[in-house]
């Protein structure tokens, strides 16, 4: 049975789109038929992060309005055979995403795909709500920072009370904590909440930790999901996240600060 997964956070700028792009790519790299949908109507960016912005012709609103078929609007990813992107509209406002219409689109996508990844906009307005309403599972993207943790908690409350699963009274949405922009050095210095602190506060299972890294900006600069950046910690961390999501028992990596060697320090390295 196909699964709908929402990537959400409440707060903006924590790495939802970066995560959606890499997570969906990772699922597809393992042979899963995957589609990733941008729910940020009016401020679409997933197309840029996936590097397909110049190939966008139709968007999700065109599909909702019945102007084109789903098949016409889906864009095939440039690096993964099993991956498709459904862009958001840049010109309409977010209220154009009608709940029942989105429900129909998701049902149709579930016929052909194994995983439907929904990239939520920031906030708790209608766009974010629509993105999470139909979810079977949720990746809660959280930075080790007070406002992000608080907003994640708020989102967890909404998932538990107002999602379709909650309304229907069936098994609740399965929640996964994904801590991003993690800097073990600052955690050691007592300047940053540790992943254990965040887990203790939010009380949901940890799916992974993505370290703060220069390669995320390099990936977005070039329109390549970070999971494809060779030899980067971020790519490895995202591959682990996908592995764990698929049920593999992998240890959490990149949460211990690397010791700076004597020579490196002498040469001014960090």
């Amino acid at each position: 049975m196909a699964k709908v997964i929402v990537v959400t956070s409440g707060k903006g700028g924590v790495g939802k789109t970066t995560t959606s792009a890499s997570f969906a790519s990772g699922l597809a790299m393992r042979g899963n038929r995957t589609v990733v949908i941008d729910f940020d109507v009016g401020l679409r960016n997933l197309d840029l992060i996936m590097g397909c912005e110049r190939r966008v012709v139709y968007d999700i609103i065109n599909v909702i309005n019945g102007e084109v078929s789903l098949k016409q609007a889906l864009i095939k990813d440039k690096s993964c055979d099993n991956l498709y992107i459904l862009p958001a509209s840049q010109t309409r406002d977010k209220d154009a995403l009608k709940l029942d219409a989105v429900g129909r689109i998701l049902e149709e996508l579930k016929q052909t795909f194994d995983f439907v990844v929904c990239d939520s906009p920031a906030g708790i307005e209608s766009g974010a709500f629509t993105a999470m309403y139909f979810a079977d599972e949720a990746l809660i993207v959280t930075n080790p920072e007070v406002s992000s943790v608080r907003d994640s908690d708020r989102i967890l409350g909404i998932l538990a009370a107002k999602s379709k699963r909650a309304v229907d009274g069936v098994e609740p949405v399965k929640e996964h904590l994904l801590v991003t922009r993690y800097d073990p050095k600052r955690v050691d210095a007592g300047e940053m909440l540790s992943v254990e602190d965040i887990q203790e506060i939010l009380r949901i299972p940890l799916l992974g930790v993505i370290p703060e890294s220069v390669s995320v900006l390099q990936a977005s600069n070039s329109g390549t999901p970070a999971i494809h950046i060779a030899k980067s910690d971020v790519a490895e961390a995202y591959k682990d996240v996908v592995g764990r999501f698929m049920g593999e028992d992998l240890p959490i990596r990149f949460t211990v600060a690397e010791k700076t060697g004597f020579f490196k320090r002498l040469l001014g390295g960090r």
Partner: protein
Amino acid sequence: MSMIDGLIEYLRGKDKKTAVIAKERLQIILAHERAGRGGETPDYLPALQEELMAVIAKYIHIDRNSFKVQLEKHDQYDVLELNITLPEKVNTRS
């Protein structure tokens, strides 16, 4: 930082790391916000019940089953209700 500076800072109680402050602040505000969300019972209720029971048991001999703590939600206010059935005179400590 010299040892003296460190000692002074320690004595002033200023050595608390900001990550610790962040965690404490979050725990307090989230407990409050979760309680206000409605529907679910706040997670401090069982602990509150245990502590209240311990205090009352110091003065009156009470049965665990005769002690109830409930939080009722209304539009404008919440009511924290303690319901304790006191035992008959025979069991009272004198």
